[in-house]
């Protein structure tokens, strides 16, 4: 204890600029990491503003901006000091990159570091090579200094500026996607003006920036939020109805106007939303961390494959609609079968045991043992589409899967929502909070957990069945651990037990990496960072349910010092 206290004393009596230097060093480590791990060179292939700024530069600039922001907060009081601190931190961070360039140009480190290529150094020095080694340091100082300056502005200036930058980045990312459908319609002139084939045009970037700042300022002037909050409840409800209709229209009609690739992506997102809702019952409500979700996904997918395929391994050639209930039912039965033995064990052991199940099913699906029934690595092919339409029909492609998944997701959400407030749902939440207390209240632990596990399994089976129809085949290599990890990450990032959280989580974690191939090879890197960061700073998720938020943010005077914040899964 005395050690800890003296450490704090030392920290406070340290030189005031020590914190700034440390922020700079940290920023440098992050920047070098971004380069060497390949994020900067890979992202550099995607321009944000055509011909000017790439996503790779943006990633480095973001590192500088964060360093500047953090440095300004650690600087001694005073505006000049804050800006100087930002510039200093940025210069230090940039110097790390300069050092990387110098070392890399003098000694060839590519034998060890794959990404440390001349292309990377050109990127960092804007094409000047060794002679331009000072460029990252200067650029870092300028960017971080500017960020520090912005961070000490009053919020009426700071927020619009930040919004403008965010809008440019987001629109730059989506430019290619938005441009293609716009080119055919009446908006083709606008599209050509704003978007190049690979990002915003410079003019488009300026316009976006100005428009975003303008709307933000306007919104603050008109006090939209405050006015809505002041409205009587009846008028607020009247406003809500058109918003819901607009939302439904976007969800239902917009996909039709975008291309087949986009439809494929959102069909996948809808599928993961569906599975997320399923796991949300198991993990979000009952607190059972299931890392073997893919096992039930596989059961559902193979069930649909076997029952519908007219190919080699098909056994029934049923239509999709007759097969899909069986996918859910058989997955549920598997859930009961696998769940019964293991649900008595403690939370963290359960996670590893379910992980083991997932691996067992994965290996069995590809093994020679089951090859004569499941086709091994070659799998079951020719799974028919659920709705048989001519190829030019608007439901021909992945669109129909999108609507089916959406309808199923809505169904699952409804079930989960109604169950949450039922006797069973409250029993689940009680178990999640404290198993011992729940048992003392007369809740049968194994039975109640089993129901949650079986429901989660059923919805995973449903997801697997729809997946096999989406892809048109099921092969053993589709049964991978990352399916489980995707779903778990969606729920953790979105918020345990929260229904909107799952939608947001799936859109971010599935949709964004699928849309941007550059991002997709680093998706699990981001998942890892996201999981750690969420656990450290926001364990309740981005859009938490009310109960979870309350329990994870117990006011300090209520919680006994040193006691666990809550007892969930610690029973």
């Amino acid at each position: 204890m005395t050690d800890a206290r003296s450490a704090v004393m030392v920290a406070t009596t340290r030189h005031p600029w020590g914190g700034v230097v440390r922020v700079g060093l940290l920023g440098g480590v992050v920047a070098v990491y971004l380069c060497l791990v390949g994020i900067v060179p890979t992202f550099a292939e995607r321009p944000l503003i055509s011909g000017a700024i790439s996503l790779g530069h943006t990633a480095l600039a973001m590192a500088a901006v964060f360093s500047g922001y953090l440095a300004a907060r650690r600087a001694p009081a005073g505006n000049v000091q804050a800006v100087a601190a930002g510039a200093l931190a940025g210069a230090i961070a940039g110097s790390a990159l300069a050092l990387l360039v110098v070392v890399g140009e003098v000694v060839d480190v590519r034998a060890v570091m794959l990404q440390a290529s001349p292309a990377l150094y050109d990127l960092l020095t804007l094409g000047m090579g060794l002679a331009g080694f000072w460029i990252p340091a200067v650029a870092g100082a300028v960017l971080a200094g500017a960020a520090a300056a912005v961070s000490i502005l009053p919020s009426s200036y700071r927020l619009p500026l930040s919004w403008g930058l965010v809008a440019v980045v987001v629109l730059g990312l989506f430019a290619g996607l938005l441009r293609t459908p716009m080119l055919t319609g009446a908006l083709s002139g606008v599209a050509r003006f704003l978007f190049a084939s690979d990002g915003l045009t410079p003019v488009g970037a300026v316009i976006t920036f100005v428009v975003a700042i303008g709307t933000n300022v306007l919104q603050r002037r008109v006090l939209v939020r405050q006015r809505i909050a002041e409205m009587p409840a009846t008028r607020r409800r009247a406003l809500l109805a058109p918003a819901i209709v607009a939302g439904l229209l976007i969800v239902l009609v917009l996909p039709l106007s975008l291309g087949g690739f986009f439809a494929q992506v959102i069909a996948l997102v809808a599928l993961y939303v569906l599975m997320g809702f399923g796991l949300n019952i198991t993990l979000g409500l009952a607190g059972l961390l299931d890392l073997g979700f893919v096992a039930f996904f596989a059961v559902g997918a193979y069930t649909v494959g076997l029952l519908t395929s007219p190919g080699e391994f098909g056994i029934a050639q049923w239509p999709f609609w007759a097969a899909i209930p069986f996918a859910a039912l058989i997955a549920m039965a598997f859930g009961a079968f696998l769940g019964l033995p293991i649900l008595g064990i403690r939370g963290d052991y359960l996670a590893i045991a379910t992980l083991g199940f997932g691996e067992i099913i994965r290996i069995l699906a590809g093994s020679d043992l089951l090859k004569q029934w499941l086709g091994g690595p070659r799998g079951i092919l020719n799974i028919p589409k659920p709705i048989d339409v001519p190829p030019d029909h608007f439901l021909a492609g992945p669109h129909q899967i999108y609507y089916i998944a959406l309808a199923c997701a809505a169904l699952v959400a409804f079930v989960a929502w109604r169950l949450r407030d039922s006797r069973l749902g409250r029993a689940w939440i009680a178990i999640r909070e404290d198993e011992d207390v729940a048992q003392a209240l007369g809740i049968d632990l194994v039975q109640t957990k089993l129901l949650a596990y079986m429901l989660g399994a059923a919805f995973a089976g449903l997801g697997g069945g729809i997946f096999s129809a989406l892809v048109g085949s099921i092969v053993s290599s589709s049964i991978q651990l990352f399916v489980s990890i995707n779903v778990v990450a969606i729920i953790i990032v979105g918020g345990m037990g929260s229904i909107p959280g799952v939608v947001v989580g799936a859109a971010f974690l599935i949709g964004v990496p699928e849309l941007f191939r550059e991002l997709s090879s680093y998706r699990f890197l981001f998942y890892g960072i996201a999981l750690i960061a969420m656990m450290r700073y926001r364990p309740e998720g981005l859009l938490p349910s009310r109960i979870v938020r309350r329990e994870l943010h117990v006011p300090d005077e209520v919680a006994a010092p040193g006691a666990p914040v809550n007892g969930s899964a610690a029973g």
Binding site: P341, I342, A351, G356, I360, G528
Partner: protein
């Protein structure tokens, strides 16, 4: 009245199910072994080969399992990223080996070969220890008082972060480990087939495990670690630096994993970013088998798992006519994990760990 009957019925069906589960497993093991042995397809020499292979594999699992078990003992958390620490060690050893091979030392003569392996292991230990200490500092220490699932999820995050960092740094391809020629040669014994690499693996694993055991039981730092595992608050009152004891635990466990990474890679001659994941889960299985939190238990569990995995597929499954039973060796390992968790969660030697501490 009615609901009580329903409850009684489900209780009966659950215990009945568990019994049926046990009976099926025992039947598979007994009948499968009997069938395989009576068919007489395999000679005694084959079985000895399998057992020796299992011994090498098992001693590596035991080395990795030590890290799981010590961290669980002191923090009560499953360090999911431990498999990646193992993989990082293998990568460290790889680059050391490439350097040594370029210097012409790796295969110059048996003496330099042995020295090279020692250097590779030292580099691997350094890499693994550094990473593990960083991970502890960044991802685990702030969550020490959170509910149990939260550090586990952070550990899963750390595991993916490390995997894909290595994928980014070194690419998705599989690196072929440089060959140390001496290790590939057979030991000149007439009655068994044995390569030097197996001898190296088993001997170094046992030396390291013995060293670790003495470290934990005999040194002052080891005593501090055991005291903190027993009760953090009391240990702090006794003047023990709790954070230091925890970091030391991570460092020591990671050093063992790093060494295991090199040994494993010398046996299987390859390493890539995902190569730590499956051995990691298996070593966790070994730790649970032996009784998690228990150092001798982890060693025993590792050796046991190695044998089960090496002999098991042939012995239990071949008799039933299962095609290519070796594909299913991981299934046997994971089934054992589930079985131990269900029927004897305290493991073989696990009576030391009680519920309140874990």
């Amino acid at each position: 009245m009615y609901s009580r009957w329903v409850e009684r019925l489900t209780d009966v069906s659950i215990s009945g199910f568990l019994w049926a589960f046990r009976i099926v497993i025992v039947l598979v093991v007994v009948v499968g072994s009997a069938l395989t042995l009576t068919q007489g397809k395999y000679s005694l020499a084959t079985w000895i080969d399998l057992a020796l292979n299992g011994l090498s594999l098992g001693s590596i699992y035991a080395l990795i399992a030590l890290g799981y078990t010590m961290v669980y003992g002191i923090l009560g958390m499953i360090n999911f990223a431990h498999g990646e620490i193992f993989m990082a060690g293998a990568f460290g050893g790889y680059f050391a080996a490439v350097g040594l091979a370029q210097a012409g030392l790796l295969n110059l003569n048996p003496l330099t070969a042995v020295l090279s392996v020692v250097i590779m292991i030292a580099v691997a230990m350094a890499v693994s220890t550094t990473l593990a200490v960083l991970v502890e500092r960044i991802a685990y220490r702030p969550l020490r008082k959170a509910p149990r699932l939260i550090p586990l999820i952070a550990a899963i995050g750390a595991s993916f972060f490390l995997q894909y960092t290595f994928r980014g740094l070194f690419g998705p391809g599989i690196y072929a480990y440089p060959a140390v020629d001496v290790l590939g040669e057979a030991v000149p014994l007439s009655f068994i087939r044995l390569r030097w690499v197996d001898v190296l693996v088993v001997v170094s694993a046992f030396v390291m495990m013995a060293g670790l055991y003495l470290f934990v039981m005999r040194t002052k730092v080891g005593t501090a670690i055991r005291a903190v595992s027993e009760d953090k608050d009391i240990a702090a009152l006794m003047g023990i630096d709790v954070n230091r004891a925890i970091v030391t635990t991570f460092a020591v466990g990671a050093a063992m994993a790093g060494a295991a990474g090199v040994l494993y890679a010398l046996m299987f001659r390859q390493v890539f970013f995902f190569s730590g994941f499956i051995p990691g889960i298996k070593a966790f299985t070994a730790a649970v088998l032996g009784g998690i939190g228990n150092v001798p238990g982890a060693m025993l569990g590792g050796l046991f798992l190695g044998q089960a995995e090496s002999i098991g597929p042939t012995l239990f499954l071949d008799g039933f006519g299962v095609p290519s039973p070796n594909q299913l060796r991981d299934v046997i390992a994971f089934t054992m994990l589930v079985l131990v968790l269900v029927f004897r969660p305290s493991g073989i030697l696990g009576e030391r760990v009680t519920e309140h501490k874990a």
